[in-house]
């Protein structure tokens, strides 16, 4: 890609790397590009509903400050780059709803560590993105603020729970966004929206100020259009945080350093369990084509087995709801958030506050979780699920003895229509069948666009070993150097003609 083409791109079509180059070269200011995105959000987001809150005034103030810093020669990593935060990250003075009625009025007096990290890197926050309520959902249909529309086809879901972040990136309403992933909530919407998303190793990104769904599974990560942009964001996002006891004290590498390393000799594990019934044939073909492309680059494909894969979804739907049932107990109407009108007494206040403040999916998971932990059931469900979790982790540990990365589909099929799985929670839960196991194991996982089926994007999942994000990003970047899928945009999104059309 040469500079003349880059320069022709509209501001909203630029990647983060391109924006940094443009800001450095003085082609535009942060205020200009920020205003551009704000205008574009105003113009288009009525269709996509990807933002819950847009901070026009504070975004422009941050952009102005970034331009000033740049002028003074103080240029931190993402100085002046606009981004968006999933509305699960607490933002000081800015409403943080977690997609719920319960927190519709909640304005935190503190920033999440992730938010602080981006602020310290000079990033500009355009707003807070829509999400499934309390991050519970795979279609963004559970948001109190209404569903997000997939920019590829507004009759279909964007995936979830980070559907707002994914759609905003796909619709070029931000070059990058933060997201969180408890069972696939970064990777599945990234796949369905045709963008790149990375869930880091558990403990790599601080959970402080990130509203908890299932504490042992939740992990924040970046969403952007390219692996390179994800690397630039992860450089800022990852940190050891003494305020999070599960954060891991380990040096954060420069994730862009190895992007250009050739892949020859890389051993890629292909789990046979990820290509069984339930997988859409078009999705399977796209993934197999992607693997063939990588083979051309010299990787070796090795068939592996992750024998406990089929137990991942059941184990997850015990552990995650169990943790959630306790994590969401604090929403009781006593100190902040929604409180019912005119409570008769304490019990009435608890019951109506929670009945009104939570949506059906949240209530369903609280009930399931409380049930799994209750006297007489704990051993059969929670303890058993934890044992299964150890077996699943061991599957991966064994696999990584033989291979460097593991690859397969991110989700079983492309985006589905609204309401298609609304009445069937189990069908919805199976959306995360390929992503959940990595959360249970604490491993990093990524989704990169690898094809289109019926004009809908398909994601290739890359699972790495613990703290091997650099290698995953390297693989994804090399794949993106050779393919154009990440540059595909939904009809009417990019202003310029697709400059790489017909590359393959």
């Amino acid at each position: 890609m040469n500079n003349s083409i880059t320069n022709q791109k509209a501001l909203h079509d630029k990647t983060i790397a391109e924006i940094l180059a443009g800001l450095n070269a003085g082609e535009f200011t942060s205020v200009e590009i920020t205003q551009h995105f704000l205008d574009r959000i105003k113009q288009l987001d009525g269709t996509y509903n990807s933002y819950i809150t847009v901070n026009e005034a504070s975004a422009l103030a941050q952009a102005e400050a970034a331009d000033k810093r740049r002028a003074e020669g103080d240029v931190p990593a993402l100085c002046g780059v606009p981004i968006a935060h999933k509305d699960i990250f607490c933002t000081n003075g800015v409403r943080t709803s977690c997609g719920s009625k319960m927190l519709d009025n909640f304005v935190p007096p503190y920033d999440a560590t992730v938010v602080e990290n981006f602020a310290n890197a000079g990033a500009v926050v355009l707003g807070k993105t829509n999400m499934d309520q309390f991050a519970m959902g795979s279609s963004n249909e559970t948001s109190f603020y209404g569903p997000v529309k997939n920019p590829w086809d507004t009759n279909t879901v964007p995936g979830g729970s980070s559907g707002g972040s994914a759609a905003a990136v796909a619709a070029h309403l931000t070059p990058g966004a933060t997201a969180t992933d408890t069972g696939g909530s970064i990777r599945q919407p990234a796949a369905l929206c045709g963008i790149t998303g990375l869930k880091p190793t558990y403990g790599r990104v601080s959970r402080w100020g990130m509203i908890a769904f299932a504490s042992s599974l939740d992990q924040g990560g970046p969403m952007a259009r390219t692996a390179e942009d994800c690397a630039l964001m992860l450089n800022v996002m990852a940190s050891f945080d003494p305020k999070d006891s599960t954060s891991i004290d380990r040096e954060v590498p420069n994730y862009t350093a190895n992007l250009n390393q050739p892949l020859a000799g890389l051993k890629v594990g292909i789990p046979k369990e990820y290509f069984k019934e339930g997988l859409n044939p078009g999705t399977e073909q796209a993934v197999r084509d992607a693997l063939a492309e990588l083979e051309k680059q010299g990787v070796t494909l090795i068939s592996i087995s992750l024998p406990h894969t089929k137990l991942a979804v059941p184990a997850y739907y015990v552990i995650a709801p169990a943790e959630a049932s306790a994590n969401l107990s604090r929403f009781d109407g006593v100190r902040y958030g929604h409180r019912c009108d005119d409570p008769k007494d304490l019990r009435d206040m608890y019951m109506r506050t929670r009945a009104e403040g939570f949506g059906d999916e949240v209530k369903r998971r609280i009930l399931v979780g409380a049930y799994c932990l209750s006297a007489g059931y704990y051993d059969a469900y929670y303890r058993k699920a934890q044992q299964v979790r150890r077996l699943i982790k061991q599957d991966f540990v064994d696999a990584f003895e033989q291979v460097d990365v593991i690859m397969g589909p991110t989700s079983p099929s492309p985006a589905f229509e609204f309401g298609a799985k609304g009445d069937d929670p189990v069908a919805m839960y199976l959306e995360d069948i390929y992503t959940i196991a990595t959360n249970l194991a604490g491993l990093p996982g990524m989704s990169v666009p690898c094809g289109l089926v019926d004009d809908k994007p398909v994601g290739l999942q890359i699972i790495g070993n613990y703290f091997d994000e650099s290698r995953m990003l390297n693989v994804a970047h090399q794949f993106q150097q050779a393919t154009h899928w990440h540059q595909q945009t939904p009809a009417g999104i990019a202003s310029e003609a697709k400059d790489t059309e017909g590359a393959e």
Binding site: T96, A112, K243, S245, T246, A326, S329, R335, Y378
Partner: protein, 482 residues
């Protein structure tokens, strides 16, 4: 018919850390409501706990002091229940893997009997906040200053057989935690709280159904409450009824107890390991370094007091039991130089006054130096025992040091033998009848007759004559007369 009482205790001791167990907020007592509560203490969304190492250290010190196994791996769990003063709606506590395993606490009763009470385990947990039910016009106020204060909960086996043992056990625990400096022991501030599990049975039979009376915060309340509950249970059974498993509340002021909730109403706490906190793994060196630095424990101090100060085992027990008491005694005795008198004053007048006013010795209005100052004057004969009581009273009321009070009240004892002789002579001269009676009395009856003369002399001296000298001089003079 004979009954045996079976008692087990659960004791909550607030650990004397400066900050809370999972947040940086202060744990100081008595601040304005909600001024010592951070975002974490308020359970704001997204906040996360970070364990306070000092709380672990203190719990380990306790474990070592009761000869218990220290768990190399301990795990925090969540105990789920809704209550407005529990902001997260779960208490972070330990269940399956507590920090302190089985140990024992040895007690000595008034009759010298010794007994070892087994400790099942002790675990770390966070305290809840406080609900204030007055002054809010039918609503409740919530104060979260206490929320997150570290507690060690000490759970005994049902080895206790009566109220005396229960109190001795509770006092011994108080002594251990205050000696270790891990708890300030201020019962009136809730620093130590006792839950008492009580059942009765015929000797030799299986345990009866127990009740639990919660949150007793004085030894006296515990004693009273046990007596009341044991009587209630025995009456109930002897009348053909059954004890039901329930939680009870005891009001120490009205000396009445009532049922709080039955077993059927009990919460299912749905415990599970807290995913925000990793298991804490300790190595031997860490535990050993804490063991090396343990302060003197009550049993060792008891033996030292017997040896160093020549105290009886019983006296040593009282004086060494409470760490603050021990410190008070050692300071006072060093200044006064008279161990016996100092011990008597502390165990007598001072303890009685403290008990009467429900004060701890740490906050005694008369401090160790002041008491020693008074004893010094007692020893050197400046004041009499009777005067000492007046001086003590004045010191208690904050009127200053002993010497100032003696001076101000003119309490100096007359020890001038000339002056006393003159007073004795005068009383004898004015008591012809009594002198005759004395002279004619049988020798064995004479000592009893001295009281009259002593009384007259003391009256003449306005109570300031040295009684010992009065006795000596009076006897000498009377003997000269007969």
């Amino acid at each position: 018919m004979e009954w045996e009482t079976v008692i087990g205790l659960e004791v909550h001791a607030q650990l004397a850390t400066k900050s809370k167990i999972f947040s940086g907020s202060s744990t100081a007592f008595g601040a304005e409501p909600n001024t010592q509560a951070s975002g974490l203490d308020l359970a704001m969304p997204g906040t996360l706990p970070v364990p306070n190492e000092q709380a672990y250290r203190y719990a380990i010190m306790f474990g070592l002091a009761i000869d218990a196994e220290i768990a190399k791996t301990s795990v925090f769990e969540r105990k789920n229940y809704f209550y407005p003063d529990l902001p997260k709606a779960y208490q972070t506590t330990q269940l399956e893997r507590p920090i302190v395993g089985a140990g024992h606490v040895d007690i000595e009763l008034a009759n010298g009997t010794k007994k070892s009470i087994r400790i099942h385990h002790a675990h770390l947990e966070e305290d809840a906040g406080k609900s204030l039910h007055e002054d809010f016009h039918g609503m409740s106020g919530i104060d979260l200053n206490r929320a997150g204060t570290p507690l060690v909960e000490i759970v005994s086996e049902p080895d206790i057989r009566n109220a005396e043992e229960a109190v001795a056990f509770a006092k011994k625990l108080h002594s251990i935690v205050t000696s270790l400096g891990i708890c300030d022991g201020e019962m009136s501030q809730g620093s130590m709280r006792f839950d008492v599990n009580i059942s009765v049975r015929r000797p030799g039979e299986a345990f009866g159904t127990r009740t639990e009376t919660k949150n007793l915060n004085s030894f006296r309340f515990m004693e009273d409450c046990i007596a009341l509950e044991v009587e209630r249970q025995i009456d109930l059974i002897e009348d053909g009824g059954k004890v039901i498993q329930e939680t009870r509340l005891y009001n120490g002021e009205t000396k009445q107890a009532r049922s709080m909730r039955s077993k059927e109403e009990a919460n299912d706490y749905r415990y599970f390991p807290c995913p925000d906190l990793l298991p804490v793994v300790l190595d031997d060196d860490y535990i050993e370094s804490i063991r090396q630095n343990l302060p003197e424990l009550p049993d060792a101090r008891h033996d030292r007091f017997m040896e160093q100060y020549g105290l009886s085992s019983y006296d040593a027990n009282i004086l060494s039991g409470d760490a603050n008491m021990a410190q008070y005694f050692e300071t006072a005795t060093k200044v006064s130089g008279d161990t016996k008198l100092t011990a008597n004053w502390i165990m007598g007048e001072l303890s009685a006054r403290l008990n009467a006013e429900d004060q701890s010795i740490k906050h005694s209005p008369v401090n160790a130096e002041q008491l020693a100052g008074m004893i010094t004057r007692l020893v050197d004969g400046t004041i009499s025992s009777k005067m000492a009581k007046q001086v003590f009273e004045a010191m208690w009321n904050g009127e200053g040091a002993a010497d100032e009070i003696i001076e101000a009240k003119g309490l100096k004892q007359v020890s001038d033998s000339g002056a006393i002789e003159a007073m004795v002579d005068e009383v004898i001269a004015n008591s012809d009848k009594q002198i005759d009676n004395y002279r004619n009395a049988d020798e064995s009856k004479r000592p009893k007759m001295l009281g009259y003369f002593v009384g007259q002399i003391m009256k003449a001296s306005k109570g300031q004559a040295n009684p010992q000298q009065v006795n000596e001089i009076l006897l000498k003079k009377l003997n000269e007369l007969i």
